[in-house]
Symmetry: D2
Subunit: 337 residues, 4 copies
């Protein structure tokens, strides 16, 4: 860590900072510049709040030098992580597509979805079983029954299953039905949930919160990994900005940034990233062109009848068309679909 | 609700929208303007996603007319809500101050805090018992033991107790120690937690999420109120913006905005809103000057030794000075301290 | 326009709004709903500030119905605009690439750049002649001399020339050298400049400001078009968000959004959009995959020696590689390169 | 400056960075840590782009140590700057109020405004003479004639005059009428304008751009000061965030932050900061409570008839009431009004 003192900082102020660094276990190296004195500290993991130094008298700024995440860092596995689940590899040369409705609504709906997704070339079916909504009167999901229906439909069509876990108490039950557990954007910093997911032995797909920085996303991945579960898939799904035409602004650049900073696979969710069906397809193409390892896409047999997220769900025909376009784009980034 | 059709929308497109509105239970009124056809719908509560119409062919835009929140709306109680707890009124003429350390750390620390806060004129002591941290090795809070210590210290000094509930499973235990339960910014849209808090009969202080709009804050309040608990206190604590000098940007204007839109009391947390001790005092003054019903302030007997949030905790002397300044300001807005 | 009155608005308040609408030239249609009274106004162009109504007593909200831009709207030319300059069509089936250094630095540098850009398949050379910098001591550009050098280099390699105009006084001089005049992000709302550009008969490339909404970008285009110059090319180059890893967040979704709202061509500038060379290539691919009509890319014969924007300039080899990748991607969106 | 190398950076990569630092004139100090090698550079002014190092192989991050502004820094004049104009001191113990209409509209309007502002206790009258608007048909201001009218009205009531300069060509003419020249938010980075304002000998009030960081605001002040004009007044007027209820989010915390970082006076403009009359008063109070040296407030004899910005202009009675409230608040921060 580095503490830069203000111009003209008093010797007593500098000494107070040194004393504090020493008390925290740092070895301190002092460089006296023409204008600023800089104190370098080498020591324990950089788990401290730079603000603790920045509020001290005479301090100009304080920087952590070491990334606050280690296991999630690219340097931990320079070659990149490939997560194998069923016969599918996430992070390998093939772009993995996870598709399906926002919510599991009925046996027929999920069966039809699975059939269509498999035919189009998806590897996973996605679908929510728990839907806490802003209105207590709105459709809340089918719960465990929905997961049963989705598992059965997936098995019939050779698909894997991904679904969102809302709460750490649901984990054991969900493990019985799902191949990958998804953490939603609102739960990205639910540390109790992340901690429990660190103990399981199935992959976790972690969505970026709408106001989370890339560093915070990686810190949340670190939390899961620190528990021993290294199979974390990251997911960009849009951040909140001043632009109101789209529900969120999908940060496509986060894909190459994360791929550089971390060894973990990074997928994109253009459905939540845009909130509008007609923008899902271009943003799905852009995600693959930018290097995403996979996509999470909402497709519904009949979007107009969907009980949730209909406006952002693709029609099956649109999904087929998208898959055909992605087959053209993937080779440009050395991938297949 | 209102649907505005695009210039030159085809009759079949207009009819498709009308059909959908009717299917959703709206009575439809059609106005054919020179340029745009506008369809007005009167009907069920405005609980629908405008995007469902905006993705239809020929539609330019769709507006909800009715606020998505009702119970939290100013029109529900035009005179404003005063929440009475112990002998204290929140939302009345007196600005209520809730002060104390970020975390309860020890018997001595919380006892000393209670003494200092009471002496300075605070009505509540605040302090966290559960501290899920980004590092699993950092101080995680004293748990129920911390609440016991805080309750005892509060009682000795005639203070009320507010503390943060992290999870719906903690509610029953916490009710034994706290006068007000606080919901943190990260949990503002934890609907399972809000639902359970709707069933209790103690006030809830709900903090605005760092990327939550004012409307979303009021919707979360509505969620608690819909369960029957009308005693909700709102709290501004900073939003995430592009500015990096401060940890968050405290949206002081949210105070008068919420006071106009809602009848609920609105307090401010300048400690989390700024993250730096030297900015807490000016922002606390600004909050009261803007009309806040109260303040939530971190004060620690010895901030440099604090196990969490030390950089933003006031020294007891600073807190005394702040209270003196607030006594001068409060009359400018027709309040007392 | 539509004014929605608050629940329980008094008759006198409603009448005051009606009077004001009438005074502004609107025909008023009143609908009395169960909860809200809605006043619809048909009349002059929707050039008014909705806030003028929203501050009136009893008003809940006010919406403009008509887009504040007309000439820039897709409905003005549903088939889309193709801008022809030299033998190049912008907005047609071919993705147009404009490449070159940030600044024109010397005869040799711009000659070498032109050679490399032409060889790689670019249609335009770009390069700045005026570089107002935050430091008065930094390189300020070669001025008109730079334009001369660039024109000559372009002509030798069959390239067109685009360069940024900083000030309306520079227009006549620049028209002598450039095929397209570029308006930078900081000048997007320099209305004096836009007004003068409305009078010329060469295309204008208008960059989105870093905090401009898509609507504001279209309004600025409208400003140029209102003067009679319909040849406006829009350009996404990144917006300011809370994310700090990238200099700006490139809003790739703005590409399909603008293409839907407007008939004007839309290009992307991944160099300024990311600020880092290693992110330029993935974002360039993503832009084309999302439907951009062209790209504006910084390439420098020797980026490490560049007098400005070196870190975001591609090496010539990288540019060649990018062009090869784009050739694969373009057919996925029915384009060629 | 400091360059932190990545974990495991190769010796050749480290050497390449050192070579570049040396080439740029830095003396380099190398510290080899357990994990990271850190290169410290002491040398010329820190006017370089850290991205130039961050794109080099093996580099993790690069920090400037010295503030990019010097003259605007608090350390340049630790005691703070007081700007004297007429008999008024800006930055001294008295909070200075600048009030008046958005635009000068007529002799009668500005005369009436001056009378009301003077009676309420303002020191300055403000009013725009040039109003470039998004619509070419809207009121564009009275130009020099407006300035004449304002000067005359000001003189009759013992007021000083502040008005906005849009373009460097207007400076000489405006100096004949104004005591302070104002730079609007959109021109905060119009470096040509700032450069010319560095040459004049009257104070400049510089508004923060809606997407400008505090550092960028201080850099723009530096630009003026570098030209020799040290009389710069800074002004917070709202930043663009995701919140849409208010037109901008007024960053009240910027007031104490700027007062700490810089010696320059800092005022606040709650009119543009909120865009709605009913929010102007609480935000004006908050600004003074947070330590602002002055206020810029829009007041109009008849806001409903205002040709621009009516919705955010105070009624004269509201302004009187505000001044009375500010008189109560000012002593809390050791000021008078």
């Amino acid at each position: 860590m580095l503490v830069v003192m203000q111009e003209g900082a008093a010797e007593a102020q500098i000494q107070a900072v040194i004393d504090r660094m020493v008390a925290m276990g740092f070895n301190v190296h002092r460089s006296t510049g023409v204008v600023h004195t800089v104190l370098g500290g080498v020591g324990p993991m950089d788990e401290f709040d730079p603000a603790a130094f920045e509020v001290m008298e005479g301090v100009k700024e304080c920087h952590r030098i070491m990334s606050p995440y280690k296991l999630a860092s690219r340097s931990f596995r320079p070659g990149g992580t490939i997560i194998k689940v069923g016969g599918v590899e996430i992070g390998g040369p093939k772009v993995v597509v996870m598709a399906g409705p926002c919510s599991v609504e009925s046996e027929q709906q999920i069966a039809r979805s699975a059939e269509q997704c498999a035919a189009a070339g998806a590897s996973f079916i996605r679908g929510g079983a728990f839907k806490p909504r802003s209105s207590p009167y709105a459709f809340q999901g089918l719960g465990e029954e929905g997961l049963k229906l989705m598992r059965r439909a997936a098995d019939q069509h050779g698909l894997l299953v991904i679904s969102e876990v809302m709460d750490h108490t649901q984990i054991p039950m969900m493990l019985g039905y799902c191949d990958v557990l998804q953490v939603g954007a609102r739960n990205m910093q639910n540390f109790n949930l992340l901690k429990e997911l660190g103990k399981i032995r199935k992959p976790v797909l972690l969505k970026r919160g709408i106001s989370a920085t890339i560093e915070e996303l990686l810190l949340s991945a670190e939390y899961v990994m620190a528990g021993g579960n290294y199979e974390v898939i990251l997911c960009e799904r849009g951040i909140r900005t001043f632009e109101t035409y789209t529900r969120n602004t999908m940060d496509i650049s986060a894909i190459p940034v994360v791929k550089k900073l971390s060894h973990l696979p990074m997928v994109a969710d253009p459905s939540h990233g845009t909130g509008r069906r007609d923008k899902v397809i271009p943003m799905a193409r852009a995600s693959v062109a930018a290097g995403a390892d996979g996509l999470l896409v909402e497709v519904h047999p009949n979007p107009n009848e969907a009980l949730s997220d209909g406006p952002q769900s693709l029609y099956p025909d649109q999904f087929n068309e998208l898959m055909a376009q992605l087959k053209i784009i993937a080779p440009a980034v050395g991938r297949t679909l």
